[in-house]
Amino acid sequence: MNLFAINMVLAFAWVALTGGLTLGGLTTGYVVGMAAMWLVRPLFPETGVYFRRLYYWARLIVMFVYELIVSSLPVVRDVFTPGQSSQPALIAVPITVTTDLQITLLANFISLTPGTLSLDVSADRSTLYIHAMFGEDPDAIRAQISDRFEVWVREATE
């Protein structure tokens, strides 16, 4: 987060220079600062990682939003159609990510995506327990999580 801090300092400097302490000004300052850092990146040995990380974060967020929209639709359909087509299930999902941040991100990701909801993490942090609304095929759900979500999360955070 060192670089992020530097970037923030730059953003505040921008605000001071241009006046107008607003979130907009700050964001502008942050972007401008980032651009400046990118220009002088040889001076910062870690800038490469910093910018790649930014890309992964952006991808994570985008995918997150996408999955959210896509996954909402079946729920909405089930809500509006008469009767219940869902097949709820409680599923254990083994996970490989290790840090707190990764586990949290993954769990949240799962909660916001296709008919799944994280209920808890096992004490040894190796398993996520989730509730699936359309849990006819637990293995497919497990596969989706480990193949896609886990990867995105890991890439964004490592």
Binding site: T22, L23, G24, G25, L26, T27, T28, F64, V65, L68, I69, S71, S72, V75, V76, D78, V79, F80, Q84, S86, Q87, P88, A89, L90, I91, A92, T104, A107, N108, F109, I110, S111, L112, G115, L117, S118, L119, D120, S122, A123, T127, Y129, H131, M133, G135, P138
Partner: protein, 119 residues
């Protein structure tokens, strides 16, 4: 006009998701399925309307605030769902009969009853 259309689209879809969330919470059979509706549709609905606001005003500060609000929603909604779901499960809130439970999951969820009761 296009601008208005986009805004209208976001507003409309957001509204529908909000409504759907309410509907789901009311109609779905058990707590955990209701939570699906509230967590996903609710968050999405509100997010979409915030996007509409951002588009409509198209000002830096407004966009920033709208984005911030969306971020906050996305950060908090799943955590809240996790906490309620876990608590509900631990307190034995009933699930619909057709729920399939993998081996050990129920035990694992109930195994650790939070903290010890004080005194």
């Amino acid at each position: 006009m296009i601008h208005d259309l986009i805004v209208a689209l976001f507003v409309l879809s957001g509204g529908i998701f909000c409504f759907a969330a309410g509907m789901g919470v009311l109609r779905l059979p058990d707590l955990l399925t209701r939570m699906h509706a509230s967590t996903k549709a609710g968050t999405l609905g509100s997010g979409l309307i915030l996007v509409a606001v951002a588009v409509q005003f198209a000002e830096g500060t407004v966009i920033a605030r709208a984005v911030a609000a969306i971020m906050f929603l996305l950060m908090t909604a799943p955590v809240a769902a996790h906490l309620i779901g876990r608590a509900a499960f631990r307190t034995g809130v009933p699930m619909v009969d057709k729920t399939v439970c993998e081996d050990g999951v129920a035990d694992a969820l109930r195994a650790r009853p939070g903290e010890q009761a004080p005194d």
